[in-house]
Subunit: 288 residues, 2 copies
């Protein structure tokens, strides 16, 4: 195991689950946690996600071989500035953020030369928040996107990639910009649309909603502050994604003007593409 | 039981489930089914959803006390014309269609004076199609919207309302136009948006989709022809719903230009409205 001591900064759903998964995989690993509320740190220690909790981030990262940023994206910049002077020589820093361009750029500008940064986005989570929802299996079977830049150390990249694989994630690599562009389309926009679909309803309509509506808007149930950070950080790509959706809605209005034949083809094509993805996901999670 | 003989026109997911539910509630009821494929009628009879299947719709409705249109919405007009001469005196006709204005108008213009029409929309279903997915409990606990017009016979309305209640549905009443307007917002548009969210993805983005995306687009997995009928039939309201969503997307673009505070408020408000609906649904399905 390349990282005998892991520091987890932010022990909520993701950080707590990461601690549980690491302790499960490597019973001898030392996990320190940072949080700004003592009660959260206590809860994380009680469930066995961390060995020790610190309200002082310098204390949490001291001596750590791997530091994982698990707070909301909006706090990453200040955290990087705070930990920079306290990282041990050779420490590797990674994160679990849903956007990658800004964190990679900031980390490379902020961290000392003796530490190495590798951007990660484990695509696991829930609309639930907090360490009380943490579970060992949160990451297992899901995809983790690594986002190396021209400045990324290949050895550090390989170690972080192996770390997520050891926690049973399937890893893939994208440039930070490709990551943010693709995720704006397939993750951030759907979240925004879920919120928009709720916001546009009047109370009488909403009272009639069925299971379909609740499923469609499930991801709209997440924490506003958390997603605000993601949206603002990835603003440029998200605006482009909104533009693509508007293009599809314009296309739909055109199809509604027709006799319905092309509309059925459009709907069937969407259904078939989704079905193919569902089958692909089922294949991926089937054990070897 | 007011309807000793029920004719179900179209024995797919909804029609098959209706037959199963009726036979379960009233073991002595006679259920005849109409379909254009003998194999489907045979399958419906084998699972006990109907007593007899007919490829001739006149034979299916002959002597029936209640006729329920369960085919795709696009076939309703021609079915009504075909059954009109064969309905017994006092027969009540209803349907399970997802749009109501056109069927109510057409039925009132097409059916003979000795038959009575009541529009129904049991809000149950699935993205699956076909009698092989039929189940007795499909309707239980869900809402059924009755859509009386100025011409609706109050006694027939009360009987059809009781029919759905006996199958453990919660009933409510809306005018046909209110129904179509509210459902465009809370059901038809979300379906269209799910399709649009799939259609706008390039293959690289789609390959990165997570559980959130698949949930958001689940209702986009339905049959294109079926939804084409609904969209075309409810075109006018759906166009208005698309306009409302575009208004929300414009609002989002404005929020993305700000510092994020108003964006977080907008996201939290949507999450809270959805959560309130989820809690409401849980209360509704809790047994008395």
């Amino acid at each position: 195991m390349a990282f005998p001591h892991i520091a987890i900064l932010g022990v909520g759903l993701l950080g707590g689950s990461l601690g549980l998964a690491a302790k499960s995989k490597w019973p001898d690993v030392r996990v320190t946690g940072y949080g700004h509320r003592k009660s959260t740190l206590d809860a994380a220690r009680e469930i066995g996600a961390i060995d020790a909790g610190h309200e002082d981030v310098a204390a949490a990262v001291r001596g750590a071989d791997l530091v994982v940023l698990c707070t909301p994206v909006g706090l990453f910049s200040s955290l990087l500035r705070e930990i920079a002077p306290h990282l041990k020589h050779g420490a590797i820093v990674t994160d679990v953020g849903s956007t990658k361009r800004s964190i990679v750029t900031t980390a490379e500008a902020t961290l000392p030369a003796h530490a190495r940064f590798v951007g990660s986005h484990p695509m696991a989570g829930s609309e639930k928040r907090g360490v009380e929802f943490a579970r060992t299996e949160l990451f297992a079977g899901a995809v983790c996107i690594l986002t190396p830049s021209a400045l990324t150390d290949p050895a550090a990249l390989a170690l972080v990639e192996q770390f997520w694989r050891d926690l049973r994630m399937r890893t893939t690599r994208l440039s930070p910009d490709d990551h943010d562009r693709l995720l704006a389309d397939v993750s951030h926009l759907p979240h925004a649309v879920a919120a928009a679909l709720i916001a546009m309803q009047d109370d009488r309509a909403l009272a009639l909603c069925g299971k379909g509506f609740l499923d469609t808007t499930r991801i709209g149930g997440g924490d506003g502050g958390l997603w605000r950070d993601i949206f603002i950080d990835n603003r440029e790509h998200l605006v482009a994604s909104v533009g693509k959706l508007r293009g599809q809605l314009d296309h739909l209005l055109g199809l509604l003007d027709g006799d319905g034949a092309a509309l059925a083809v459009w709907l069937d094509a969407a259904a078939a593409r989704r079905e193919a993805q569902v089958l692909q996901k089922l294949r991926e999670v089937t054990p070897d």
